[in-house]
Amino acid sequence: MKSIDVLRIMIAFGLLLVLHYTLRPLLAWRSSPDFLVIALLLVSIRVRPGSAAVVGFLTGLIADSISIDGLGAGALAMSVVAFGASWLKAVFFADNLPLIAFFIFLGKWALDIMYHVASGNLGGGELAMQLLVWSPLAAAVTALFGLIVLALLRPILRTSPA
């Protein structure tokens, strides 16, 4: 990967990180879009699985440091998701919007499942409600926003010719 591509990816990642901490609190929806997941998936499909897992770990640490539920739960979940996304990058490379949306949806849902199970902050019916209702909703919203972000950032994310 060329340095200019790395720079572009970093800019896109930074933009999404800023969006996560500005637009998300502004919206304050019960099922908000997770721009961190979108950013993570964007990076993961462009690097090797190991590097993707490290990026996921660091992103998860950032997210965990703000939450009080448990340091490491988000890091673990994001590492796994980033690793999986990097491993399945061929799927994501397909220029098929529904497929990309489904990929983001799955990534966010899997992240939520792992996060809540690992942190242990919810239990019983509350956990089931969160994982079966709110998490899929948040995943769907994230997928929708992911498509919008991908469409907007397409000029930045286009890889330069070799």
């Binding site: 304050a28 950032i62 340091l71 590492s79």
Partner: protein, 372 residues
């Protein structure tokens, strides 16, 4: 992933300082962004809340004059009930909105409460109409704009009699009344109070019907017709009293104060203007908030002053034509008097008197007599 698991399994005493260190260093800018975004959202919510509260205040201000009017109306109704003492049924009146029945009201009292067909329906201001159909719990009454409405009427001082019916004019005048069949010898001036005469056996004597507004030009030769402003306005027909036949038969002297017709006429005129005033009040209550909103948006107070000037003008213009309407009546009356004076002239024979020389003119004649 192993690192993640290790982090997850770290003891709380280690994890918390680590997270705090991250919050103070790497994540600090992101935390600041999140904090500012939260503040912005709260400010937005506070603005929305303030706007909602302001709208509520405006709404309350808009309904306050209407509540005051309703309160005054209900107090007048209480006063009427106290003066009637017996033989009446209070009822709520609901205007029918179906086509052809615009001038009928459904009353919330029926035959079980003693209501009978042809029972007079009155309000604190005067006559409303007459019960036409009676059901056990409800009844239907016609009100004064109904084409079948007729009442034998007289002026409050008893100097003129006639039959009052609806004025079948165009929509703005449709709610006025006509007093027909007033003898030519009687002239009613604008502002004269017209009451029911008691003839006919349906309406007892002395219920205010309306106030003379002006004379109408009709094809009738031997009688005058006058346009009346009804004593009861449509807005007042929400709570009414239905008089029992026995009460109507025994008379209602003293229930309405006819001794001071000027005050009743003034009251009627005041209430007639109240529609325009109510509209102006409502607009006045609503516009300052709008103006304030504009001011907040533009930060220029000038449009508010301009709106205020524009709002007051129509009210003054509404009252002006009413005064102008009274002028032709006086002019017509003057003209009719002149005609009468002319027709009276031949009755008194005018005998031509030969001019007599003034006594003082003779001595002044200094012409010397002709000498023989």
């Amino acid at each position: 992933m192993a690192l993640s698991i290790v982090t997850l399994t770290l003891p709380q005493a280690v994890r918390d300082p680590f997270a705090a260190a991250m919050r103070r260093s790497v994540v600090a800018p992101l935390l600041s962004l999140q904090y500012n975004a939260e503040l912005t959202r709260r400010a937005w919510e506070a603005r929305e809340r303030t706007r909602a509260e302001r709208d509520s205040v405006v709404l309350a201000a808009m309904t306050a004059p209407e509540l005051e009017r309703e309160n005054a109306r209900l107090r007048r109704m209480l006063g009427l009930g106290r003066r009637l003492r017996w033989g009446f049924v209070p009822a709520e009146a609901l205007f029918s909105r179906s086509p052809g029945e615009e001038y009928t009201v459904v009353l919330s009292a029926g035959s079980r409460a003693g209501v009978r067909q042809f029972s007079p329906v009155v309000a604190a201001e005067g006559l409303v109409g007459m019960v036409r159909i009676v059901d056990p719990t409800k009844s239907i009454a016609i009100v004064w704009p109904h084409t079948d409405f007729r009442v034998s009427a007289q002026s409050a001082d008893g100097s003129a009699f006639g039959i009052v019916g609806p004025h079948l004019g165009d929509e703005p005048d449709r709610y006025l009344l006509e007093m027909r069949g007033v003898p030519l010898r009687t002239s009613l001036t604008p502002g004269t109070l017209i009451v029911s005469s008691g003839l006919g056996g349906v309406y007892p004597r002395g219920i205010p019907i309306g106030v003379v507004q002006r004379e109408l030009r009709t094809s009738e030769v031997w009688a005058n017709t006058y346009l009346l402003r009804p004593a009861v306005l449509p807005a007042d027909v929400s709570s009414v009293m239905i008089l029992h036949p026995q009460r109507a038969g025994s008379g209602i002297d003293g229930v309405w104060d006819l001794a001071s017709p000027d005050s009743l006429a003034a009251d009627s005129a005041r209430r007639a203007d109240s529609v325009a005033k109510a509209r102006a009040d409502t607009e006045r209550a609503a516009r300052p908030a709008q103006a304030r909103a504009d001011t907040t948006a533009r930060r220029t107070p000038a449009p508010v002053r301009r709106d205020t000037v524009r709002r007051q003008a129509p009210v003054r213009r509404d009252t002006a034509p009413a005064r102008r309407d009274t002028a032709p009546v006086r002019r017509d009356t003057t003209r009719r008097d002149t005609v009468r004076r002319d027709t009276a002239a031949p009755v008194i024979p005018v005998v031509p008197v030969p001019p007599t020389p003034r006594p003082d003119t003779t001595p002044r004649d200094t012409t010397p007599p002709p000498t023989p």
